[in-house]
Amino acid sequence: MMAEQQARAASSLNPLAPKPPHMPEHAQAKSMIFLFMAGGPSHLETFDPKPLLNKLDGQKRPAEFGDVQYQNVNSQSRILGTKRTFRKCGKSGIEISDLFPYQAEVADELCVIRSMYGDMVVHSAAQYQMMTGRIIPGFPAMGSWIVYGLGSEAENLPAYVVMPDSHGAQEAGVPMYTNGFLPSVYQPTMFRPGNKPVLNLDLPKGLTLEERRRSISLLKDLNKATMVGEDPEFAARMAAYDTAFKMQTEAPKVFDLNTESKETLDMYGVGDPKTDDYGRRCLMARRMVENGVRFVCVVSGGGGPEAEWDAHSDIEDNHLRMASWTDRPVAALIKDLKRRGLLDSTIVLWGGEFGRSPESEKGKGRDHHNTGFSMWVAGGGFKGGTVYGATDAIGLKAIEKPVHFRDLHTTILYQLGLNQDALSYMHLGRKERLTEVRGEVITDLVSLRTP
């Protein structure tokens, strides 16, 4: 029975031991960093120029574009032009708005998908779908799935890390990042702000490392004293204590950004009050991946519309602010991964749970918008310097080569050498996988490997 295989896998000595991918011949990436722009960044102000918007500014949406469902925009709403200007960047000439001068410098590494779409127009459900493939909570996030599929190469670090935004939570909350019904070993480690990001890595106050080393050796001796024969479960538990102890002593070294050069810190904008927070977290993400962590999510946005990409009331004000916090660190991460030879094996995904409406909300803002928006992917065998798919002339609907979240998930898994059907887990009588409806591998997004 499959359920029994699962149980066995979970009780093997190290459930996080690295596992070979299902399709080693296709595996180009080993790890992934998701730069999650929570709240839904506007495609119209970033990667999808629509000159027609400015011409239609203040008018009702022309009927030929059809209708979509919104949260707040209604039939009385008017098209909102954009104040952003776009220019062709890099050798590839990808158009990027003046919101992102730093990302413009790495344009040739980006594979911009302009035809993303999802099923839900409200944050929580859209975030669940983006992270877990389902519009309801309770299912494992892609980070958990990927660790379930590949194990971890980071012995002294958590396998799956989420670095939340210290401004506060996202609508879907922690359940969107979690392991759902997968065993708890696949859960994310939620980093905390500051130099001590992992809970319980520090010794209790006043206790020396020597003292703790001694109590752990006593614990092992006591456990051995009553162990009868070989016991794989107890052996796994004792191995977990070894790992825990190693994490405790080794991980803080990885968390210490002081070993980075001034040049690197500057590149990420560490020290500049605007970029310091996201810069530190992006830099930390690189250090995680460098040390074998499988999946890192670096969240931008939380706590409410003003500190998220959720520009309901003023797109200019909101996006200028959010961009000023993140653009430089995001570009630095790409450059840094590239020069360290890590970009080829690391998928970097940028984007949010949806884009924003062509119509205005409250005069200067834009509403949620799930029927056509942009995300980009870099590294991990994704084709840099390309634009894939298109929305219509006002950015309302993805009309050319639409890409659903499930297709993106499937393609990401493919680049990691994972097959969406093989990466499954029996739950309540169903073979569950990341994609609810089967996704497509979008081969045009990736440089296929010739075996």
Partner: protein, 671 residues
């Protein structure tokens, strides 16, 4: 056909289903013999327990359960393990029924009880204690995904949800017939809407996550989600089939058509939430004194917003949100449901489960494969739709209901069900390891008036349950049956998250034993609270002694699981959890070694030991008896004494030793 079909009261048909006059009606459907012949849909068999000739075999059979177990073991050339010693046994059965360790006094009393019925008396004592309802009620709460917040973005608290938890605990303690238990939960309000217990129980229909959104409420979409939650849980919890899979298309493996799914949903078409205020006059007045002016302000702002120029709307919204955040928790209430025929939702099959794409109209009917072909459906509007469904479920001849519940009971005793997938008796689930035993127990369960305690007794008094957790023929047995599905030994188990915390509290002497009542919010790390969209909901309970209550009384919040619970495999309560994982990994070690709670409780435990036993060997003895239920072995005593002697009199050593005991396999596992 089978007698139970009559239970489907087709006489209550009150005309055509809502909207049916214009809609295409889904065919009632026929089922092939091959679909009907699946074992779980067949009537239960009358199995007789196997008997034996050899005196050794005869002696091993303590209750009828053992006959089935032994016969199957013998068939594959295996033998049961020798009986567990009394020390092991009292710890095993106490955790099993109470989720707590036996006290040293209870252990001594049992060890020194010369009566041949000592164990039987122990079982009876444990079953009679209200602790039993707490532990077994907790299992049921996993199955029905009980939580005290809505989930999704607001994750609004349900401060009165505890009434349902208390109801479940109470029902187990009363040994309420399962038939009544099912009916009260599904349709308590329809049975007797003046009975408070029934009303609380009917809150079962509202236990699922609930999405509420800002902006334009999409009423149809929300209603569809609510109906989905109500329907799916019936399949998972009572019927043990994955009928929820048929929401988007015909079930791929089991004979459940999409129309079957929506016909099940038909029983809930009239069900609407019904909050019954239970606040006193003074409380209501005080609440209104706060809330009414706030609501007044909000209404004014909303009016203003409608007329305001677009540019000003953003600012107004911020003001609105600020007022919204000041709103106090709702008044104390019972979360019930009621039927509102006028608001009945027309039910259709939905193409790909999409509420925007309704296809054929349906009425209400249970699963077609369990009914004769072309059994008519009920109308959506009947006087007691959910009670009709409940009556069908609890019919004594229903092929699934008793088997599914008996299997759950077996699973919680042995760690694994006779069917290993407790929520799925379908083709993708496990096959029964002992089909005859399953039917035997189910028949007995029904014959005993669907009461659990006689069943517990029969299982707990069996030799199969009383085996040691190590077998002399481990190697051969592992080759033949690595999962121990045939029970050639007792499978040891790791304590569940709640049991670990409760035990740490209990042995340190700090456990607050209070049963029932509103949930406790413990103070937690600020960074954790920050991960909530609405951090203002997390207000720690004022009474600090409540922090040491049993874990089941700590609030179960969907968007904030206490880290301790998460690492030890407690479910997130978004979906039904039929069985918990038992993983072992480094985050658990870090939690128990460096976590604030374990270190604080280790200090309390060490203090207790020093206070109660001034001298060293006796102190070690007590430490082990509290943590592991037995005296330390010579080797253990030697190791611990050496450790202490390295720094004589150092209080840190005792605290660290206490912490080691919380981390010890002999503490964390039950043999």
């Amino acid at each position: 056909m089978k007698a139970w079909i009559a239970i489907l009261n087709v006489g209550v048909l009150l005309g055509v289903p809502v909207g049916a006059s214009e809609d295409k009606v889904a065919p009632l459907g026929t089922y092939k013999a091959s679909e009907r012949n699946y074992w779980a849909f067949q009537p239960r068999k009358n199995a007789t327990p196997p008997t034996f000739i050899e005196p050794g075999d005869k002696a091993w059979v303590s209750t009828p359960v053992d006959g089935f177990i032994l016969a199957t073991l013998k068939k594959v050339g295996l033998r049961p393990s020798p009986p567990a010693d009394k020390t092991t046994l009292i710890r095993r059965v106490t955790y099993d029924l109470h989720g707590l360790p036996p006290t040293p006094e209870e252990i001594d009393a049992f060890l020194h009880d010369p009566s041949p019925k000592a164990y039987e008396h122990l079982v009876d004592r444990l079953l009679a204690s209200p602790r039993y309802g707490e532990q077994w009620g907790r299992h049921w709460l996993d199955v029905v995904r009980f939580a005290e917040s809505d989930g999704y973005e607001y994750d609004t608290h349900r401060p009165d949800a505890y009434r349902f938890r208390d109801y479940v605990v109470q029902s187990f303690n009363e040994d309420k017939p399962y038939t009544q238990f099912v009916k009260e939960q599904l349709a308590g309000d329809e049975m007797d809407s003046s009975n408070e217990t029934n009303l609380v129980a009917s809150g079962f229909n509202r236990l699922g996550p609930l999405r509420k959104n800002a902006g334009n409420q999409n009423v149809a979409s929300s209603r569809n989600e609510v109906l989905t939650e109500m329907t799916n849980i019936v399949g998972a919890a009572f019927l043990g089939v994955t009928v929820g899979c048929a929401r988007c298309h015909d079930h791929k493996f089991d004979p459940f058509r999409q129309s079957d799914y929506y016909r099940m949903q038909g029983f809930f078409a009239q069900a609407q939430p019904n909050d019954l205020l239970r606040a006193t006059k003074e409380e209501q007045d005080a609440w209104h004194a706060t809330v009414d002016p706030l609501q007044q302000q909000m209404r004014q702002l909303q009016m203003k917003m409608r007329r305001a120029p677009e540019e000003e709307k953003g600012k107004l919204q911020v003001e609105l949100d600020a007022i919204d955040e000041k709103m106090p928790l709702p008044l104390t209430a019972i979360y019930a449901v009621k039927d509102t025929p006028k608001e009945a939702t027309p039910i259709h099959t939905l193409f790909h489960g999409d509420y925007l794409d309704p296809r054929e109209s349906v009425g209400a009917r249970p699963l077609g494969v369990l009914l004769p072909d072309n059994t008519p459906e009920e109308a959506i509007i009947t006087a007691t739709p959910r009670l009709n469904l409940a009556n069908w479920i609890v019919n004594p001849d229903h092929p699934l209901t008793a088997r599914v519940m008996v299997n759950r009971i077996w699973q919680y005793h042995f760690g694994r069900g006779i069917v290993s997938t407790a929520n799925d008796f379908g083709r993708m689930g496990g096959r029964p390891s002992h089909p005859e035993l399953l039917d035997y127990l189910a028949n007995l369960y029904v014959a005993n008036g669907w009461r659990m305690k006689p069943l517990h007794r029969m299982i707990l008094l069996s030799s199969a349950y009383r085996q040691a957790s190590e077998s002399p023929m481990e190697k051969i047995a592992m080759e033949k049956d690595a999962e121990n599905s045939l029970l050639w030994k007792f499978s040891k188990r790791r304590l569940e998250a709640e049991e670990i915390r409760d035990s740490m509290l209990a042995i340190s002497g700090k456990l607050n034993p209070k049963i029932g009542g509103p949930s406790v919010l413990v103070p937690i790390d600020r960074d954790l609270v920050k991960m909530l969209k609405r951090p203002q909901y997390w207000v720690a309970t004022k009474d600090k002694s409540a922090y040491d209550r049993r874990t089941m009384y700590l609030i179960y919040k969907r968007n904030l699981q206490l880290p301790f619970m998460g690492v030890f495999d407690a479910p997130d309560m978004q979906l039904s959890c039929p069985r918990r994982e038992q993983s072992a990994h480094a985050l658990q070690a870090l939690e128990l070694l460096n976590g604030q709670m374990s270190n604080e409780l280790a200090a309390v435990f060490a203090e207790r030991l020093q206070k109660e036993r001034p001298a060293n060997p006796a102190r070690l003895d007590l430490a082990w008896r509290l943590a592991t239920g037995r005296a330390p072995t010579t080797k253990e005593k030697l190791l611990a004494s050496q450790y202490l002697a390295e720094k004589p009199g150092d209080p840190v050593r005792w605290k660290e030793l206490a912490l080691d005991l919380y981390n010890l396999n002999a503490f964390l596992y039950v043999n």
